[in-house]
């Protein structure tokens, strides 16, 4: 197992470097001058030149990249021109919100998807299956921001059960914090639940056709034991891979949903930074989010190796 983990870690290193290079060079090399992007197209030539000098844009691009990486390794991503705060400080203030939202969305997705997929997959071609498949197909076609608006409309505006906007820190008031997080987490979680439910159903159908399940049934095991002990546990292996991919989708979801609910997280900071032409912040956030996704994929791969021994011996 240790060899497998080390091999996966080594394989991740070049990808991490490529991620940093893509983040840096996309912003530096795409048509358009970062200094002009910050100051606006009608900015004075001398001001643009001064900013180019300040940002070090007149140096060779490889030197700029190495310098940026050197500072990034030390957690220094520069300063926001608008607020004067360091990007690291801006991020640390908002990280808690996004992590909490991400975890809650994943919980919503798993809580909904596993029972639906399990039921649909263990009773194929029954009304349970049709309902489960309907949920999976429609859930994947609903944009999370529209679902968010519908949830606000019903549960915040009409019923008044949850707040429509705003954020209360967990440390300040845990109950109010959770009330504010329920709707955003559902808005992100439903689409992920749809994908997970579909995969769980497919896995269950396949596993329940295996010989060892037939043997378990012919031994006279109760159906519940067959489904949970022999079916569900084995069906979870491909589902976990999909769960890894979901982390990337949840980050995408958080970017847009934080803006809908005015949650002060990383996603909202990113959108605000794009509108305010804070390219230094955009660059830093892009790097952090992509690295976080790559690292969580690595964790999923490693846990996959634990669950399915065949993987690590390949």
């Amino acid at each position: 197992m240790t060899t497998y983990i080390i091999r996966r870690l080594i394989a991740t290193v070049p990808v991490l470097f490529l991620i940093s290079a893509i983040t840096f060079f996309t912003i530096r090399l795409l048509p358009g001058d970062p200094a002009l992007a910050i100051l606006g197209p009608e900015a004075d030539y001398n001001l643009v030149e001064a900013l180019r000098e300040e940002l070090g844009l007149n140096r060779p691009v490889v030197v700029q990249y190495l310098d940026w990486m050197y500072h990034a390794f030390q957690g220094e991503f520069g300063e926001s021109r608008r607020s004067g705060d360091t990007v690291a400080a801006l991020v640390s203030d908002r990280l808690e919100v996004t992590i909490q939202l991400g975890i809650l969305s994943l919980i919503v997705a798993v809580i909904l998807a596993l029972p639906i997929g399990l039921l649909a997959g263990s009773k194929p071609n029954t009304p349970f299956d049709y309902l489960g498949t309907f949920f999976a197909v429609v859930g994947a076609a609903i944009p999370n921001f529209w679902l968010a608006l519908l949830l606000i409309l019903v549960f915040a505006v009409d019923l008044g059960w949850f707040p429509a906007l705003g954020f209360t820190s967990f440390r300040e008031d845990p109950l109010e914090n959770m009330r504010g997080m329920v709707l955003p987490a559902i808005a992100i979680g439903i689409a992920q639940a749809a994908v997970l439910a579909r995969q769980t159903r497919a896995s269950m159908v396949e596993v329940l056709q295996q010989d060892y399940v037939r043997t378990a049934r012919s031994k006279g095991l109760r159906e519940r034991n067959v489904i949970f002990r022999h079916g569900f546990r084995n069906a979870m292996i491909p589902v976990i891979t999909i769960l890894g991919l979901q982390i990337s989708n949840i980050v995408s979801g958080a970017i847009i949903i934080e803006s809908v609910f005015s949650l002060p997280g990383i996603g909202k900071l990113l959108i605000d930074s794009i509108f305010n032409r804070e390219l230094v912040t955009v660059q830093a956030l892009a790097l952090m989010l992509a690295l976080a996704v790559a690292m969580s994929n690595l964790l999923v791969d490693v846990s996959y190796g634990y669950i399915d021994p065949r993987i690590r011996y390949e």
């Binding site: 990808v15 893509i22 795409l30 944009p143 847009i256 509108f275 992509a290």
Partner: protein
């Protein structure tokens, strides 16, 4: 018979295969219904002036927030603009972004994936690691980085979403190329001295189209949601031009008083995306059952 002529038997067999495909497709209700919905959306997108009842940006201050009526089938918004006509014009934006961005993804991702798969060895390894790194970026994040640099607007949104598709398509195409390149007709072309690009374009590309068509159909659905999302955030289609996403963004401001404004543009997105997803699923089952794995 000239060398370019197709033997009669071959033509007949080809049409027989197409007839068989149409017959099998027509037996799939989900595929037929979704194709029907897509054709309606396509009609609305092409013949907007016929399908729409009003000018989508005409503001009628005598009809602010009016409910559905004979004059305004789906009511009007805060500026008195006709919601139905804006949805019809939004269909053009949605399909245009869907088709062009998938086109960008296919036209770069497909040759890239074929080249990597065909070349193999360390070149394949390096090319695919670059794709892995791009793939590590959450889709919306990647699109946002590109928009942050290129600027807002519908044209840049098409490029941004198109780039998002490249790594996924390249991976898919590479996988298919690996199996096709061992086929005898490719080996025969190699031994006759054909160039790399000639082999890729003439012998490999036509034989890996099925998964690309399936993926392309599914990707259009994703592109429509992505465009709507970016326009919702104010980064895509700019007001007053109609887009389903920007209509929802406008509706959000009046959610407490005029909640119904948020219903119809969202339904348009869901119905269109659902149609493309179901069409993609049906095509996958018919063209490339190996890709199934989830039914």
């Amino acid at each position: 018979m000239s060398s370019g002529a197709v033997p009669w038997e071959d033509t007949s067999r080809r049409f027989a295969r197409e007839r068989e495909f149409v017959r099998r497709f027509s037996r799939r209700p989900a595929g037929v219904i979704s194709l029907f919905i897509i054709l309606i959306v396509l009609f609305a997108a092409i013949f907007t002036n016929v399908a729409a009842t009003h000018d989508p940006i005409f503001t009628d201050f005598d009809a602010l927030f009016s409910g559905p009526s004979g004059a305004h089938w789906l009511g009007t918004d805060n500026l008195g603009r006709d919601t139905y006509s804006r949805i019809v014009h939004g269909a053009r934006t949605a399909l245009l972004v869907g088709v062009i961005s998938v086109g960008i993804g296919v036209s770069i991702g497909m040759p890239y994936g074929m080249l990597a798969g065909y070349l193999g060895g360390w070149k394949d390894e390096v090319m695919m690691r670059v794709m892995d790194a791009i793939y590590a970026f959450p889709a919306l994040l990647l699109a946002l980085i590109i928009i942050a640099v290129l600027g807002t607007g519908i044209f840049n949104v098409m490029i941004a979403i198109g780039v998002v598709f490249i790594p996924g398509l390249a991976r898919l195409v590479r996988g298919s190329t690996l199996s096709v390149k061992e086929m005898e007709y490719v080996l025969a072309a190699e031994s006759s001295g054909a160039s790399t690009w000639r082999i890729i374009l003439q012998h490999i590309a036509p034989n890996i189209l099925a998964p690309v068509i399936v993926q392309g159909s599914l990707a259009i659905g994703f592109a429509i949601i992505a465009e709507a999302g970016l326009s919702f955030l104010g980064l895509g289609t700019q007001p007053p031009d109609p887009s389903w996403g920007s209509m929802l963004s406008g509706a959000q401001r009046f959610l407490t008083s005029q909640g119904s404004l948020a219903i119809f543009p969202g339904l348009a997105i869901v119905l269109t995306v659902l149609a493309f997803n179901l069409l993609g699923d049906t095509l996958r089952d018919l063209l490339d059952p190996r890709l199934r794995g989830s039914d």
